[in-house]
């Protein structure tokens, strides 16, 4: 069938449904009644006609309802009191609503509704987390981290002990699209991945897509992590903060003009450096003292928004974060810093009750810089990626059965790869290197959320993406489809298919993530990566022992093509012909994910289990191959992954959280053999050289860890005496690795030496044996944090 015929047929279908009965549109924005924050994904449901919708990421909803019929419209959102409005539409109407925080009884209803919404929605393979959950769960050194908590959900194994690297459904760590207020964050890590760049106090919402990607997203193969910052309280001035053992943070927010505009500023800084400087000072006179390098990181989030009348809203937001590492002494001065800058200007416009648009301009910049000065000689190396993006999205409530979403996006990328400048101060020695590239990335999409029947909902769409760089142009069609069939009120089946293209690539070795990993564009040699993912699953809402539980299971299979790896011994640092080191191959992964969740009562939480298998191979490139093209398991091929998460409200004063995780050990590439190598005259004698065979043939011991958290609310008595008191505070005690399990961070093989005697009777050191050494990262690790808000 020709495309024009399909379009005509679709329009006819839409028309049939839309002219069946006279209808009007109810639209508006749902907000938190106390702060004015828009609520994302709030449910709007009309019982009489069993129809509903949810607010979009800007809090906007639009629903077509029968004319002149008394209807009860129920608005609900997790953690807020349900509100029901009685209406009878004689024309299009706008209803903006502020929801109040829930009392205990309503909370049960609201949370049950959120399960119902999951059963109804076509979205699958989606995980979300609330900041309340993040704050209740244990955190390393008291630093709450939303990216680490999301890794407790099934299908999102972490990159290993302590890291925020994400390997979603067998994807690599560069295959995650991470956006903060729609601006791409290229490196979401602080301190080599031990902490993420997201300051929980400033985050409003995080949603992670593992599959079934909606067509508005593109550019990465394996996941989309969409983080939205708070907008700022437009009712009253308020603040929140915390004092921890390694960092402090403060967030201030308030109205610029009440109910019309607001601001939020949120910052945090670690103070390792203040502590280590004192330690260094105290050890100044100690012989052979090795000073501890300076290290700290900081983040700053800002946002302001203005309501420009009833139909327009303007948001301006920015993020600035840096990690600073430095080491100075008499002979050299070493500095290493890296970080992201993002900024977003967003304009929401409501054309009419059925059509809403969002136009965004974003700027993203990630860079690192290494500099070193040794007497008379200096060395500077830096890389960066910088984007400017313009996109516009339209949401159109076409009729009661169809909601369209369409839009376009264009991004200008600028890459600086390994820019090196080194030489002596007098110019006698001077060398430089590095490359600069640019590229344009394009995307247009159309999708329709179609309620085919009371049981069947389908979201179908198509994205056309492209990339141009130096005369090379790539494009790809990316069909996306997701369907939900509601078998009963409490049981639904879902399925999805998504094709994704990725045009920019992270140059990273198979070791742990480093800030020096650089982004590289698609070129004539480097073709775009592609993936196809199929997922099916089901969800059941059921009661057991009087408790409502939500069971979800999903099965996926993912094909990956044009995957990028490196030849053995690749030179990734300051290499002007970096892509010559690349090899290109394919891969696949499959698995099953199961979770059971409880959201009501004093005890809440979930249990998740993931089974998966991952392979990569067929790698060939200009300079050679990897393992003659044979397939191998990547380091993060973790067969079993279990997480148990519990949050318990003991009483008004105490709240506890616990997580237990178990994972099959990661794979490691260890040397199978060793040989003696003496080298040429004048070289340092290398007695033992490890000989590495096939990649990743050794599995580390299984990983498991119990983390605990206890929150003690302070000042409850004063609050009881004065209910209007705004100051609230708590002490949070986190204990990471409560039973002191020594999990393997990595393993290495160590040659041990003992004293022997040569022919001349001289004492010499000879190799005497080999031991496997395991390095762990965390012993039992408690942290105490004082948190407050007003």
């Amino acid at each position: 069938m020709r495309p024009t015929k399909i379009i005509v047929l679709l329009l006819c279908l839409f028309s049939l449904t839309s002219f069946a009965q006279e209808k009007f549109t109810l639209s508006g924005v749902v907000t938190d009644g106390e702060s004015g924050e828009t609520l994302i994904g709030a449910t709007v449901f009309v019982t009489e006609i069993a129809a509903g919708t949810t607010t979009n990421e800007y809090g906007f909803y639009s629903i077509s309802l029968p004319a002149n019929q008394p209807l009860k419209v129920e608005f609900s959102y997790v953690g807020f009191q349900n509100t029901t409005k009685e209406i009878s539409l004689s024309g299009n109407e706008t209803l903006d609503l502020g929801l109040g925080t829930g009392v205990a009884l309503d909370e049960v209803v609201v949370k049950a509704n959120s399960f119902q919404e999951q059963l109804r929605s076509t979205e699958m393979s989606v995980e979300s987390i609330t900041t309340k959950e993040v704050k209740t769960l244990p955190s390393v050194l008291g630093e709450t981290d939303i990216l680490k908590v999301i890794q407790l959900k099934p299908g999102i194994p972490s990159g290993g002990e302590g890291t925020t690297g994400l390997y979603v459904r067998g994807g690599g760590q560069d295959q995650n699209l991470i956006v903060l207020d729609e601006a791409v964050v290229y490196n979401p890590n602080h301190l080599f991945g031990f902490f993420s760049t997201f300051n929980t106090d400033a985050v409003k919402d995080l949603k992670l897509y593992k599959g079934g990607f909606p067509p508005q997203y593109g550019g990465r193969l394996s996941s989309v992590i969409d983080v939205k910052l708070k907008e700022g309280n437009n009712k009253r001035f308020s603040g929140a903060g915390g004092l921890g053992i390694i960092s402090s943070r403060l967030t201030l927010e308030g109205p610029i003009e009440k109910d019309k505009s607001s601001f939020i500023v949120s910052g945090r800084r670690t103070y390792f450096d203040l502590i280590t400087r004192q330690v260094n000072k105290a050890n100044e006179d100690v012989e052979d003292n090795q000073p501890i390098p300076d290290y700290f990181f900081y983040d700053l989030n800002t946002k302001i928004n203005f309501k420009l009348g009833q139909k327009d809203h303007l948001y301006l937001s920015g993020y600035f974060g840096r990690d600073q590492f430095g080491f100075d002494n008499e002979t050299f001065n070493f500095g290493f810093n890296w970080g992201n800058v993002t900024s977003t200007a967003r304009w929401n416009h409501q054309f009419n009750p059925k059509l809403f648009s969002n136009t965004t301009v974003t700027f993203s910049d990630y860079r690192y810089k290494i500099s070193n000065e040794i007497v008379g000689f200096s060395f500077n190396l830096d890389s960066k990626i910088r984007d400017v993006n313009l996109k516009t999205d339209f949401y159109q409530n076409l009729n009661s059965k169809n909601t369209l979403r369409y839009g376009a996006s264009v991004t200008y990328h600028e890459f600086t790869v390994g820019r090196l400048k080194a030489g002596s101060d007098d110019g006698e020695i001077s060398f430089s290197g590095g490359n600069e590239y640019d590229g344009m990335e394009y995307g247009i999409y159309l999708s329709d959320d179609w309620e085919a029947s009371s049981r069947l909902k389908v979201n179908g769409g198509l994205r056309l993406s492209g990339f141009s760089n130096d005369g090379t142009f790539y494009y790809g069609l990316e069909p996306r489809v997701a369907a939900n069939y509601k078998m009963t009120n409490n049981f639904s089946l879902k399925g999805s298919y998504a094709r994704m293209n990725q045009y920019v690539h992270l140059v990273s070795n198979s070791g742990l993530s480093l800030p020096t990993d650089v982004w590289y564009p698609s070129t004539k040699l480097v073709e775009p990566q592609t993936s196809d993912q199929v997922a099916v699953g089901g969800s059941v809402l059921f009661e057991m022992l009087g408790t409502e539980l939500f069971f979800t299971n999903e099965y996926f299979y993912k094909w990956l093509d044009k995957q990028i790896d490196f030849i053995d011994g690749a030179e990734l640092f300051a290499n002007d012909e970096l892509e010559q080191e690349f090899v290109f191959g394919d891969g696949w992964s499959y698995g099953g994910e199961f979770s059971i969740e409880k959201r009501t009562g004093d005890l809440t939480g979930w249990i998740g289990y993931t089974y998966s298998k991952i392979r990569r191979g067929n790698f060939f490139g200009p300079k050679g191959d990897v393992m003659e093209g044979r397939y191998f398991a990547p380091r993060y091929d973790r067969r079993h992954d279990i997480s148990v998460v519990a949050m318990y409200k003991i009483n008004e004063r105490f709240r506890a959280g616990a997580t237990w995780v178990y994972g099959s050990g990661d794979l490691s590439w260890l040397p199978g053999g060793r040989f003696t190598f003496q080298d040429v005259p004048g070289a340092e004698f290398q007695a033992v050289v490890p000989s590495y065979g096939d990649r990743n043939t050794f599995r580390l011991p299984a990983f498991h860890r119990l983390d605990l958290n206890l929150i003690v609310k302070l000042g409850l008595k004063k609050k009881r005496e004065n209910p209007n008191r705004r100051w609230e505070s708590d002490l949070t005690l986190s204990v990471i690795n409560a039973y002191d399990r020594r999990n393997a961070f990595f393993i290495f093989l160590d040659v041990e030496f003992s004293e022997g005697m040569d022919d001349g009777g001289n004492i010499i050191e000879l190799p005497s044996g080999v031991a496997a050494k395991q390095v762990s990262l965390f012993p039992i690790l408690p942290a105490l944090t004082y948190n407050f808000k007003f």
Partner: protein, 286 residues
């Protein structure tokens, strides 16, 4: 127990427990087939010499009870020949220890490697078990040092610390050339090199390459500057050796299989290469 006491006690317990994050563990590595290992450097003016050993599984015990560690790993009973310019040189089995270079070879010949930068050298080894090892190489041309310049930060008499700038010319800017730089202070052989690294002509400026040091060397001391011109095979092999050593114990590193340039049926590791270098000794004077 009151809650205010729980925090400090837990904190104290954890501090005590936070030691010893590296521990010995028992692991089973996949089966490993031992491989022959060849090291043979053809240096003009020096005799043909070759070290033939065999690799071990990483956990195999070191037998150092008799103090002759090397003899426990050498491979005996092999027939080794090197063909060059229609001439076949047989390397006889026998341990040779050079007390000046601290190097050991277990096969050698009294024949001297000629200064021939054009014709190929071909290695043939037949091991005692009949397996074979083959290799081919040439001797790269020597790259002369243009100059070694000694400089001081100032002309003041009290300024006695110098640096050395070593200049040489890229022999062929149209292709990628690879070098190995060594810098020794005071002694050439029995001290660790102060600098020993691989480089390419990527950083040549107007065809000239310069290596430098800091102002670290006092008047009166002796320094040795060496620049090897490397065959690509040898450079790749050395790089893979360095990466293998550095990757073991480094969670951020990516290991590499040893990039040998040997053929034959024995699946051997190692290198057969011509060796060519320029070296200059300088006594620092002001």
């Amino acid at each position: 127990m009151k809650i205010q006491y729980i925090f400090p006690i837990l904190f104290l317990v954890s501090i005590l427990a936070s030691c010893n994050l590296t521990q010995d563990v028992e692991i089973d590595l996949p089966d490993y087939d031992r491989q022959p290992v060849v090291e043979c450097y053809l240096e003009p003016g020096q005799p043909y010499q070759l070290l033939l050993t065999r690799s071990f599984g990483f956990f195999a015990p070191f037998d150092t009870s008799d103090g002759q560690f090397l003899e426990n790993v050498i491979e005996t009973g092999a027939t080794i020949t090197i063909r060059h310019d229609n001439k076949t040189i047989t390397l006889e089995e026998g341990m040779v220890f050079n007390p000046f270079t601290f190097k050991v070879f277990n096969y050698g010949s009294s024949e001297i490697v000629p200064e021939d930068f054009d014709n190929e050298f071909e290695l043939d080894i037949v091991l005692a078990d009949g397996e074979t090892i083959t290799g081919k190489t040439t001797i790269p041309v020597k790259v002369p040092l243009d100059s070694v310049v000694i400089e001081f930060e100032s002309d003041a008499a009290t300024d006695t610390m110098a640096r050395a700038l070593t200049y040489f010319t890229d022999p062929d800017p149209s292709i990628e050339n690879r070098f190995r730089r060594q810098f020794h202070w005071n002694s050439l052989i029995d001290s660790m090199p102060q600098q020993d690294f691989l480089a390419t002509d990527q950083f040549a400026e107007n065809g000239r390459i310069v290596f430098g040091t800091g102002f670290d060397y006092p008047v009166g001391d002796t320094i040795y500057n060496t620049v090897f011109n490397l065959n690509r095979d040898y450079s790749d092999f050395l790089e893979s050796v360095v990466i293998s050593i550095q990757s073991n114990g480094n969670p951020f590193g990516q290991p590499a299989a040893i990039d040998s340039n040997l053929g034959g049926t024995a699946d051997a590791l190692g290198i057969f290469t011509g060796l060519s270098y320029s070296r200059e000794m300088t006594i620092i004077e002001k």
